[in-house]
């Protein structure tokens, strides 16, 4: 890390609203890790899923405006965004615009053209690749020992692999390793890349209740205390809609759903309010307060066989 880490930053619309705590903890963690985020001036909506379901030129133009604005910034190595939906849109439009004919159609909709010169990455990818779990570990002043997490990446952080070009598309491990670096345990979670029901919560809530319900059931049955995610929509479906899910499926989950940046922030010594824990619907405070006792119990359990061995 001899080079200064400086990036163009695309916050995304949900960061101004339903995922404020993701935005807040992302900025705090990046600052603490020496990653400079330069906001794309007057960034606009990437179009999200709705735009690409209507037309690919429109979708790429809405994303493309932001790519073009980012390209005007000086000394940035990549465009970063915390949101997988923004990430997909920005990456797909950059990918499709490698075709000159398509690029011309998109540029015709824009005030100034996209040059397609900067790579687009998730904040997760930048933390994982440019900082890394090994550099994060010694910075953790408060290990989250005893915390069992279901690492949930969501469906589009890694898929399709030829466009997303990050981690494994069936069994991603970046977030697992970052969580382990701060002392938490990533439990086996076979639904790491399954869909949560996406943006159907408003129009077809039954879909989200079924798919997100399955995620919570699987996390619980694999021994997780909480889910950790990198996606605002996944987080909202699992957290804000958890009561709806419980009623629909006759379950009684009371499972906190963290953003991975909130947990890294805590480990780096930030307070709960600095990472916006009070903005989560299912309160994680009792769980977090139980961690020191759990860590103690784990340490005792680890000592026992060793001391037995020493005696014999």
């Amino acid at each position: 890390m001899s080079q200064k880490l400086r990036y163009a930053y695309y916050p995304g619309c949900s960061g101004q609203g339903t995922s404020k705590e993701y935005e807040q903890s992302t900025r705090a963690v990046c600052e603490a890790l020496g990653m400079e985020l330069v906001d794309i001036p007057d960034w606009s909506c990437c179009g999200s899923s709705p735009a690409h379901t209507v037309d690919h030129r429109l979708s790429s133009a809405l994303s493309g405006r932001n790519l073009a604005l980012a390209e005007r910034l000086e000394g940035v190595s990549a465009i970063l965004t915390p949101c997988p939906s923004c990430l997909t849109n920005l990456k797909v439009s950059a990918h499709k615009m490698k075709d000159p004919e398509f690029a011309a159609e998109v540029n015709a909709l824009l005030d100034f053209p996209v040059r397609n010169t900067l790579p687009v990455k998730s904040i997760l990818q930048a933390i994982y690749e440019d900082v890394g779990p090994d550099a994060l570990r010694p910075k953790a002043v408060r290990l989250l020992t005893g915390l069992k997490l279901a690492p949930y990446y969501g469906c589009i952080m890694n898929r399709p692999p030829h466009i997303m070009e990050f981690d494994d598309h069936e069994n991603p491990i970046a977030m697992d390793q970052l969580m382990e670096a701060i002392g938490a345990e990533a439990v086996t979670f076979p639904l790491k890349v399954e869909c949560c029901g996406a943006s159907f919560g408003v129009a077809r809530r039954d879909i989200v209740q079924k798919l997100s319900g399955k995620l919570l059931d699987t996390a619980a049955s694999n021994g997780a205390d909480a889910v950790v995610t990198a996606c605002p929509l996944c987080q909202m479906n699992l957290d804000l809609r958890q009561d709806q899910i419980n009623v629909a499926n006759n379950t009684s989950h009371n499972m906190p759903v963290f953003y991975y940046t909130q947990l890294i922030g805590l480990a780096l010594g930030m307070t709960p309010s600095q990472v916006g824990l009070e903005k989560l619907e299912v309160s994680p405070m009792a769980l977090l307060e139980s961690l020191p006792a759990r860590a103690e119990a784990q340490a005792q359990a680890a000592k026992k066989p060793a001391s037995k061995g020493a005696q014999s």
């Binding site: 619309c13 949900s14 101004q16 609203g17 339903t18 995922s19 404020k20 007057d42 960034w43 606009s44 909506c45 179009g47 999200s48 899923s49 709705p50 735009a51 690409h52 379901t53 209507v54 037309d55 690919h56 030129r57 429109l58 133009a61 809405l62 405006r65 159609e105 015709a108 909709l109 824009l110 005030d111 469906c155 589009i156 898929r159 399709p160 598309h169 069936e170 890349v193 399954e194 869909c195 029901g197 996406a198 943006s199 159907f200 919560g201 408003v202 129009a203 077809r204 809530r205 039954d206 879909i207 079924k210 798919l211 804000l240 809609r241 009561d243 709806q244 009070e278 903005k279 619907e281």
Partner: protein
């Protein structure tokens, strides 16, 4: 089983149009069923995704553009990622949805209304305005009870702004939509 008389009903222009817009070769599909096996949405689809691919090979335009599945695909990319023949299946479904829209279908009216509400919000403000788009959706569909149970949960958290976070120059975004509509009319 659904039997189709191909000699009478195969719309070859439709197949060619889907291939052109998606950049995919639909004849590569050999019906292994991997897409449907991994699709989380099969439980709400009227036509499972591998059957959509087969209907596409058979040029069954009306059956495809009028089905629910095209609206209920979330583009989660499972089918595309797992296709052994590297067909971008999710892209094909996206293109079918574009065509269904252009030809006036709205088999899942709620889903279409949500998409429309979202994009209207972006066209007006330059950014998605969550509270505003929910109200637009309710206005379009008359579903006044949509997520009312969530209001007491989310409002005290101070996450939902009653006013949009606009870009400095919303006209710049509105112009993108305007030019797009002009292009579509050409």
């Amino acid at each position: 089983m659904n039997v189709i008389a191909l000699s009478h009903s195969q719309d070859r222009d439709f197949i060619a149009q889907v291939e052109k817009e998606s950049g995919q070769n639909v004849s590569l599909c050999y019906q292994c069923g991997n897409c449907t096996a991994g699709c989380p949405y099969t439980f709400v689809y009227d036509i499972p995704v591998h059957q959509m691919m087969r209907l596409l090979q058979a040029g069954q335009k009306e059956a495809l553009l009028s089905c629910r599945s095209v609206w209920l695909c979330a583009t989660c990319q499972s089918c595309t990622t797992r296709c052994p023949n590297n067909i971008d299946v999710a892209h094909i479904v996206d293109v079918l949805r574009h065509m269904a829209r252009r030809e006036g279908y709205s088999t899942e009216y709620g889903v279409k209304s949500f998409v429309d509400s979202f994009l209207e919000s972006v066209e007006k403000n330059g950014r998605a305005f969550e509270m505003g788009l929910l109200l637009r959706f309710i206005g379009k569909t008359g579903r006044f009870w949509t997520d009312v149970d969530l209001a007491p949960k989310i409002l005290p958290k101070g996450k939902l702004s009653p006013l949009p976070h606009k870009v400095k120059n919303p006209e710049a975004i509105a112009k993108i939509f305007e030019r797009f509509r002009q292009e579509c009319q050409k």
